[in-house]
Symmetry: C2
Subunit: 727 residues, 2 copies
Amino acid sequence: MSATLNRFGESKTPGKTAGVSPLDGIFSPKSVAVVGVTNTPGTVPFDIFYNILSAGYRGTVYPVAPGKRSIAAVKAYRYVVDIEDDVDLAVIVFPADVVDRALQQCGQKGIRAVIVISAGFREVGPEGAKREERLKNICADYGISLIGPNCLGAINTDPKVQLNASFARKMPLAGRIAFLSQSGALCTAVLDYARDKQIGFSKFVSFGNKAGVTEVELIEYLHQDTSTDAILLYLEEIREGRRLIDAARRVTHGPGAKPILAIKSGRTIQGAAAAASHTGSLAGEDAVCDEIFREAGILRVTSIEELFNAAILYAYQPMPAGERLGIVTNAGGPGVMATDAAIREGLLVPRLEESTRAKLKATLPATANTKNPVDVIGDARADRYMAALEAVLDDPNVDQGLVILTPQSMTDIEAIARGVCQIARGATKPIACSFMGATDVAPGIHLLQSANIPHYILPEWGCAAMAAVQEIRRWRQQPLDHPEPLPVDQAAARAVIDRAEEGYLSEDQALAVLSAYGLPVPANHVARTANEAVAAADRIGYPVVLRVVSPGIVHKSEVKGVVLNVGDASAVRRAYDEILSRVAAAAPEAEVRGVLVRRMIPAGHEVILGAKRDPAFGPVLMFGLGGVFVELLKDVTFGLAPIGPASATRMIEHVKAFRLLQGARGGEPADVAGIRDCLRRVGQLVSDFERIAELDVNPLIAGPSRIGNTVADVRIRLGAGGNGESE
Amino acid sequence: MSATLNRFGESKTPGKTAGVSPLDGIFSPKSVAVVGVTNTPGTVPFDIFYNILSAGYRGTVYPVAPGKRSIAAVKAYRYVVDIEDDVDLAVIVFPADVVDRALQQCGQKGIRAVIVISAGFREVGPEGAKREERLKNICADYGISLIGPNCLGAINTDPKVQLNASFARKMPLAGRIAFLSQSGALCTAVLDYARDKQIGFSKFVSFGNKAGVTEVELIEYLHQDTSTDAILLYLEEIREGRRLIDAARRVTHGPGAKPILAIKSGRTIQGAAAAASHTGSLAGEDAVCDEIFREAGILRVTSIEELFNAAILYAYQPMPAGERLGIVTNAGGPGVMATDAAIREGLLVPRLEESTRAKLKATLPATANTKNPVDVIGDARADRYMAALEAVLDDPNVDQGLVILTPQSMTDIEAIARGVCQIARGATKPIACSFMGATDVAPGIHLLQSANIPHYILPEWGCAAMAAVQEIRRWRQQPLDHPEPLPVDQAAARAVIDRAEEGYLSEDQALAVLSAYGLPVPANHVARTANEAVAAADRIGYPVVLRVVSPGIVHKSEVKGVVLNVGDASAVRRAYDEILSRVAAAAPEAEVRGVLVRRMIPAGHEVILGAKRDPAFGPVLMFGLGGVFVELLKDVTFGLAPIGPASATRMIEHVKAFRLLQGARGGEPADVAGIRDCLRRVGQLVSDFERIAELDVNPLIAGPSRIGNTVADVRIRLGAGGNGESE
């Protein structure tokens, strides 16, 4: 995968030219100073300088090494300010405690791009965090773009630059994939792994503690980078989730879109704790991250194998028109396993046209299987493989091909590989291969990889990679969702919220806020006397529900503060008195502000609309069906607030219990459009008011369209602030 | 992994010596005839002969090649009967249409072990199936153990035998893993894959169409085989599921237990169809197979990678005492990813003792992380790795160790590998490694593999392998479940079933059958008049339920043939008449035999007990919670009937909704022991009566222990037969 262009001799990225970016200084400097070099090979300070020197850098590199005359025979400078020429990039390798002084000097020298390799900052505790703050301040003072600290460095394989400003052992091959990693050490493994598979890179960056430049600026830069087709990202910590999502949507969708494939580690509580002690970060909820990444077009995977498996297919093969996979194999078993994997991954294994099968029958022996997966039989040689592959790719039901080979004694592995390469050169459909084994198949694999045909040791991995490309395709085809604001009475909501103290709103306040935002709140009134309650019930219409209103009581039914289905005036009077006396007994210290009388809600499905603030992503919405579904099965979906109609629809449709809302168990279908509207309004509300720390409409009773939805209960918790400070 | 003993110099298998088995002729023949050899290298007939000759076979090999004087300079025979010496094994490579004659001659010659390599049998359709039947008959006539047809052959690496009776390119390394495969072509890939990882084999068999010897005899043979520690199985088709399960339980549990790891392909409908067109087999339901394998101690995996990843760890490392994993890494990111993977796979990543952390702090630099995962930092060399690994393995909270390495420029990869090998030699806890990358780490990996230290390119795979070993450990620790029969009135059930015709039993018949088997059937009576119904209700006690009894009506509520909660005599009379008139209107053609009056069942959880006949496994039980859980969420478990108490408990506890039965949503806990009893009785019933094609207790109302469970509805469908033929 070493070519800089795909096998059509063209870049996947339409002919954009990169504008001037602050990151040009990092990736394409005309001159580099390595600050803090020593003369000891095998140490980071020496290796970085020597890597730049020996990788064929097209600019000029200056070692800054106080007290040394030269480093590796190159004239050294005492301080960066002593360099007589302009310097575009400084790479600082001094110990942590003197990095700030070196950075200051870089600023004075007019250097606007700096990589700090040195560790010993935020990742080592409060002392290091202070050091890191000092670096940030210096960068702000001088307008420096900073990569690091605590990183491996950056690599640009562009033949016009050829910069290996890292302590990676070897310069990677040039290619069309960019790799960004928060972990420096992982990079060395990735580079070694990739070289073995002939996978090349356009840019390769370890961004470490991201005190300056973050993954957000990097993906935006790579979006413009004409030598990059796909962006791979390893993240341990999301600090500015909202910015990342906004950037990812711009990068992965629309003209010049590039896929972002990401590993976000710390998926489990223990993993997150390990990441925290490694990066000093605070983790949000992993399930939230999973879904929000998907809504931003970021394809989340769990291992570097998956990351590259998908990327090489995307970057070097044409985009397939659909999910339909044609398989050619010389072994039945692996054909079956590939079929299983394809279906499991969401691909289709279509029936072939009769004409295709006729073609296959004409060229293959009688014992061959001409159904998909096509089995050319163990003793097949290149001619049979080529005939079968051509026929399968020509079939209009096939969008992509997978060639599986097992090394029988008569299998001419290299000839078959060459045959596949030849067919691929003329094909408009993507081809992937799985030459199963290791040593025997190695020469064939090498040929395939040299020709940019993605190869997978297991056919299952090829299927997973093809499924990932389908996700990219589908993401691009669906329109981006824009959360246009709906008309709401923000002032009315503000009037309630600004007056309220920290903690839970009372039920009438919460209902007033929801009402202001257009949620279907049932008619209600807070009565202070039994007479008032009766009057309200008469006005609202029977049957009604009576519920105690008390700021101290969050769970009303626990203190028996609720009476349902109250049918007439005398029953209202009785219920009013009962509630007051029961609450007085159960919670004598609670301040009772009255009893809320509201319409009894017709039967329907219980759904839950929730909102909370995620440490990484800010206001996040949750949707689920009430009862066992949320509590027992954790059958919930998440989305970013505010939310557009498409994403809201996705949240609703992706719960496992969705078919219940469609009327799966014999009921009338629920008013899903109405639920979507409610979700959007909740999203808008929590986005408009930062003071809302937590909101739960639980349940919203979802009735059929002719009845609609009704808020049956709500809790809104406010954070500190109030008195006009909010929003 | 080439040693024949583990790293303690001992076999994992207690010192059993193999008895005489019919399969000894296959694996350890003193003489072999290859029947149908040609003189053309690169063809199967020649390659097989030449493989035996050149792999160093310790016996005598005779080519049978009509019309040839010699093959590869070895004297050839016209017919097998012409060989003047005794022949233990014949390998037939003739074209399909003459194999029967060759086999007949083998029988006449007194050969009792035959491998038929040739394809063109059952897998090519009816004509081939007929040919295969002829082979079976000849084998039966002569008492021949037959491997194949349509296979790659068999290999025994035992230095005293050294037989490569296959057309695999190379003889595999000797080792302690046996590999059995239904797919011949897959074998060649597996051999190539394994050689690259230095994985050795004890026996290697491709059993193809299994016309004679099946996987069942093979695993039983390998159970006794002192050179085999673990059995790997690739299966496309299960023909005698019950025998396989019985054998697997014997092999995987108790003294001399060996794990069986299996790929059963054809998991998806499409995959199964591909397998069917490949093997001509009929597939059972995949979810059933999944669970039944687990209950037989067969560890089901999906790829050859997983198969070997787990096997090498089991075969060459000590059995760990528990799930607790200590991780040593020079890279934080992979440490986090490994932690995520470990937790996801069900391992634990424990806190280390303070004394361990003190030891680590004393030897590691200040920036190192002494919490688990222990980060020795990117510039670690062998001394640091060894100190950390020793400290972690010594920690009493750690059951096994994982060493992760990324190749930094100063990482002394081979020295670290040697250090790990040295520690492993003295360790009683298993160690696995992940040296991440490819080329740079290759020499280190080679050293590890030579010393039987399992190596995984990704730490995630190491974690998955360790989790698989935990499954093996847990399986062995739990007692094997024996489905002892419960006391039932079989005669009473037989009286009903023998009299009944094919199709559904009427409700009173079905209830009588369940009642005979001790299921909690509510008191009931089939009334033919309203008066009779009232008398029955008076006797049973109110409230009662009335339900139409009609053989033609399966769904009673659809014809409004059910009235619930009938409170007194006049209501019974009314309900009786209503049912008759409504059913007459809705299903005028249905024969109405009366109205069943039964006790109204108190509220409880709806659970479903089902039974059906799986084509591969025979009578199979299903359990689930009623309503959305089965219908919408497919939240069901399966088990083999008859079922013992432990398996029945597992079936109940493994549904996702189990916590509901425990009282998760505020209810009283259900009588789970009673449900288990019901499941066992249903299992016994469907095992005793083969005519029961399908049985559904739907629902059983599961109340709290003080009330117990009640059968609320049941359907039993009988197959043809009847009149005493059953059982």
